[in-house]
């Protein structure tokens, strides 16, 4: 018999070398507010099921739904079952579901109803006994931000959010939008911090749960090949694109008040910028990574002449993928004459030694030709070309493109000789597919992030300072844009002409993703 090695977390069966064992959270409950909403049905419930199916839920687990519906457990369970069947990634299995169904509870009530929250609180205490959740709970606020204050106050009143009182951990998960400007985000944050401690607040940006985004860190910090050229000496510019082919759908009520910059630029795109531009974290843990991201976001500079370098657009009617689509103004519930942008492009700088002088071009929009998110690092041209000018006419800039979605992977573009007797150099692409088939088995972003919340691992969640820095970038843009009309672009085109002119002014062009 060998001497037992000291285990992780005081558990002798956990061994750092034993990487077959999955990370499984402590026994806990997941409480979802607004469990009847789209997000809960399409993402959260399937994610919980998939976690269960992969054996990643702890033995003591309960899923508690709260919403204003006159339902009992049965009705809710069958709806949850339907959601899991439709949305699960790992294949629906009756026996797995039965086990999860055992742990599903529904508490009906509206958010201003004291009795309903007392009921919720009691149900949680009961679950401690019956399901062995040991006082641990994560609260997922899948509700409009306007509802936050009342829900948080209720949690405070019932003591539900108090770590000490419940002898376990209490965490809260908030979805974007984290406010609509710096002031409102601070207000929201103060409110959440009042009820929960800062380290227990998890702000979900589902882009950070994507494998390729995490792979960006592996690419940069696990290799020697890229880091030496990852700076202003070699990089000409960086383009970050997040394009969607869909319109606003039924989100007019929310979208018309927000617009592309607040909806996407402020969170997803700036987070991608932070991961691209940040310095190497001293350790791969939440604190170190978030510190580096915060530094970079704080170093972002805005264009001095926004009329040339902050462009916004709104989609007009047009043809997309062989179908006629309506203009933004003709979408359901959009107020007549709305000046909300559905496209935003901006040139930012990062004022650090590494990135001084390198422009970061960001763009996002709806009703663009295809759904694609990518980060393109465009390198400078070789300082001297020994070939004749005609030989290298078709040689462009070297590029390293991180394709976040779809076709997750990396593309490297470089010049290569065209076979033949003359010396002719042309750009070729080398594709690394992050496994075409791999994407199917790689966990969904929500699955990964939900698991991280339950494990208490905040690495992939932006910290409040990051959110505030992001608003410091967006607020002046919004201020500049206020009162102006966005430029129209036809649906199915790569944005307004102004965005192309913006790059042309710098002698560059947008990469066609």
């Amino acid at each position: 018999m060998t001497e037992p090695v000291h285990g992780l977390r005081g558990n002798p069966l956990r061994d750092v070398r034993d990487r077959r064992l999955p990370r499984v959270p402590d026994p806990c409950a997941l409480v979802v507010f607004g469990v009847t909403g789209d997000l809960a049905r399409k993402k959260l419930i399937p994610a919980v099921y998939d976690l269960g199916n992969r054996g990643l839920l702890p033995p003591g687990f309960a899923l508690l739904g709260f919403a204003r519906r006159d339902w009992d457990h049965g009705v809710f369970e069958s709806l949850a079952r339907e959601a899991a069947e439709k949305g699960s990634r790992t294949g629906f299995r009756e026996d797995v579901w039965r086990r999860i169904a055992d742990s599903i509870k529904f508490v009906p009530g509206s958010f201003d109803d004291d009795a309903a929250f007392d009921n919720l609180s009691e149900t949680l205490i009961e679950l401690e006994e019956s399901h062995g959740i040991a006082g641990n709970a994560a609260f997922y606020l899948s509700i409009p931000p306007a509802m936050f204050p009342v829900v948080l106050k209720q949690m405070q009143r019932t003591g539900m959010a108090d770590n000490a009182e419940r002898c376990g951990w209490r965490r809260v998960v908030v979805e974007k939008p984290f406010g609509h400007d710096l002031a409102s985000s601070r207000e929201l944050n103060d409110l959440v911090d009042d009820v929960f401690t800062a380290q227990d607040v998890f702000r979900i940006d589902h882009y950070l749960g994507k494998e390729t985004v995490q792979n960006l860190m592996a690419l940069r910090f696990a290799n020697t090949l890229f880091e030496p050229v990852w700076n202003g000496n070699f990089v000409d510019s960086v383009q970050i694109t997040m394009a969607e082919d869909v319109g606003i759908g039924t989100r007019a009520g929310f979208y018309d008040n927000a617009g592309a910059a607040r909806d996407v630029l402020q969170n997803h795109v700036l987070q991608l910028l932070a991961l691209t531009a940040m310095e190497e974290p001293v350790a791969f843990d939440a604190e170190a990574i978030r510190t580096e991201k915060t530094k970079v976001l704080g170093a972002i500079s805005l264009p001095a002449d926004p009329e040339h370098y902050a462009i916004r657009g709104q989609y007009d009617q047009g043809w997309l993928g062989g179908e006629r689509v309506a203009s933004y103004l003709d979408e359901k519930d959009v107020p007549a004459g709305s000046r909300t942008e559905t496209y935003a492009a901006v040139r930012l700088g990062v004022e650090t030694r590494r990135w001084a002088g390198v422009p970061f071009y960001l763009r996002t929009g709806k009703r663009l030709p295809r759904r694609v998110t990518e980060i393109a690092v465009v390198f400078k041209r070789a300082p001297h070309l020994p070939f004749s000018k005609t030989d290298t006419e078709e040689l462009g800039h070297n590029q390293l493109v991180v394709r976040v979605q779809p076709d997750e992977g990396i593309t490297l573009r470089f010049g290569s000789k065209v076979p033949g007797s003359s010396m002719e150099v042309r750009d070729v692409s080398m594709d690394f597919l992050y496994g075409e088939s791999f994407t199917e088995s790689s966990p969904e972003a929500y699955e990964r992030l939900l698991l991280d919340v339950l494990l208490g691992d905040a690495t992939l969640f932006p910290r409040n300072e990051e959110v505030e820095h992001s608003w410091r970038v967006i607020d002046p843009l919004e201020e500049f844009w206020a009162g102006s009309k966005p430029e129209l672009y036809r649906a199915g085109e790569w944005g307004p002409a102004g965005a192309d002119e913006m790059l042309a002014r710098d002698g560059r062009v947008w990469r066609r993703p």
């Binding site: 558990n11 077959r20 064992l21 499984v24 054996g55 299995r93 791999f438 088995s441």
Partner: protein
Amino acid sequence: MTTTLWDTNGTEIVQTLSRERRAAGAIASGLALTLVVVVDEKSVAEAQAAATTAAAAHPCRLLIVVRRRMDTDDRLDAEVQVGGHLGANECVVMRMYGRLTLHAESVVLPLLAPDAPVVTWWYGAAPERLAHDALGVLASRRITDCRAAEDPRAELKRRAKDYAPGDTDLAWTRATPWRALLASAFDDSQSAPTSAQVSAEPDNPSAPLLAGWLMARLGVRAKLVDSEGPGVTAVEVKFEDKGRVRIERRDGHMATLSRTGRPDRTLPLKRRDLGDLIAEELRRLDADQPYAEALQAATRTKGLNERPGKRTHVWKDPEPVTSTRRAGTKKTASKRTAGKPARAKANR
């Protein structure tokens, strides 16, 4: 797209593979490793299906080696598949006859993906010493399956005797869900364990490994108890404070976790299919120290983790060439159809 090559040689296979890859547009791909599968003719389809499932998570080049009869002329037939139902992967099935079966590495070596790790998996019974098979020597990770042996528990002892870091066994892989559940049941237990017990079918090789793991990690005795199965049916750990943790699985699907002072929980604990097991094996390619510790505790051996990880080929000829065997018989055999090798001429 499948190309079949009759009575071929290694060079032709290499050329065909590279031609097929180009035709499929796979000029650059993210091959992570080469998986060599040693399998019998009757199990080729099964092994290929499992390897393909695993390859979905770990893009790899699949080299399937089928050693057919030795008492016939030397011959090599091959099927080269790129893309198609294999997704992004490529697969070469090689059928070898005659003395070539003893020199399979001569065909396999030039087909290995450049500088990528090599994993060799014996689908059926593995050689007594892995070093007897050159296909095991060129691999950095070697997957065996004790369950395929006639006496699986005796096979464990052989594996321990022959162990070198980088070896792993599917009997251990099958124990992972049990271990995961046990570990999470231990997450909030305070008392010190005093004894353990594992119940399983009498010849189940995962049970001794589970017991070995508990002994190695907890420093307690772990008893093996026979049960009706299927597979492992229960694991129980007793504690100083008279408490106990028991996980019981009767149907091979769902388990009941009972802990003193807590309500029972029913949890999924399914027996996984081969593809999932191989996928788990391919996830990491370095030595598995916890396996070595479990194996040495189960078989009362010592120092498995300290052994050198590199093996050297040991020549072992099951059927030495006799003087009557004619040299250069290969080309005397005319082209034959697949799956129906001509009856061996008595050329011994």
